[in-house]
Amino acid sequence: MRVSVQSEPFDLGAEVASFTAGAAGAGAVVSFTGIVRPDGGLTGMEIEHYPGMTGKAIQAILAQAVDRWKLVDGLVIHRHGRLAPGETIMMVATAAPHRGDAFAAAEFLMDYLKSRAPFWKKESRDGGESWVAAKDSDEDALKRW
């Protein structure tokens, strides 16, 4: 299990390759990547986080996923700081004996990271800056688990 909270970009291909190589016994690896959506005249995004809490909160979410879906391994990388449209924000990878568990665990991780990991996004547009508001649907998404 690895969690990395970092400002630097990461190499998606290299991360998935090394995660897969290390997941001995897995029959399925699923990865998800979040990207800064270049819509509505977005010029950039600033991601703030709570350094004392972020790593611990993600570790706890990942440990829950590993335990519930009997994952061989799990990985979460989440960036903070200034990001440009099209840049990768974060990724998760899950390894399991079968694909159903790997897909379910990845979706669970995404739902929980969205509303339980202490990150806040601020968008910049030509007209100014604004904080991204959490959606009710994000909170509702947790209920299915």
């Binding site: 709570y50 611990k56 509303s115 990991a117 601020k122 508001a133 959490a134």
Partner: protein, 82 residues
């Protein structure tokens, strides 16, 4: 003394990221009340606590949670990770 941290628009409205606070409050809600009584910028940040979340020693908690033994309180809007 307790460390109080603010993030995102809560930090912007209050105008600082963290401070040490001397408090006699028994609960988070009591602390919020004390802060709001200080200055308008606190009252503005805490105007609608249903729009806020709180963490005690880096764990999510409720506004009626006790403060006894807590070293760090953080206030922030609902998280937008992922």
């Amino acid at each position: 003394m307790i460390d109080v941290l603010y993030f995102a628009w809560v930090r912007e409205r209050i105008g600082l990221p963290r401070e040490r606070v001397e408090t006699g409050a028994a609960t988070v809600a009591g602390l919020v009340k004390e802060l709001c009584a200080r200055e308008e910028r606190y009252a503005a940040a805490f105007a609608d606590i249903s729009a806020l979340r709180v963490a005690l020693d880096q764990e999510l908690a409720d506004f009626d949670a006790p403060l006894a033994g807590v070293r760090e309180v953080a206030f922030f809007p609902p998280m937008t990770g992922g």
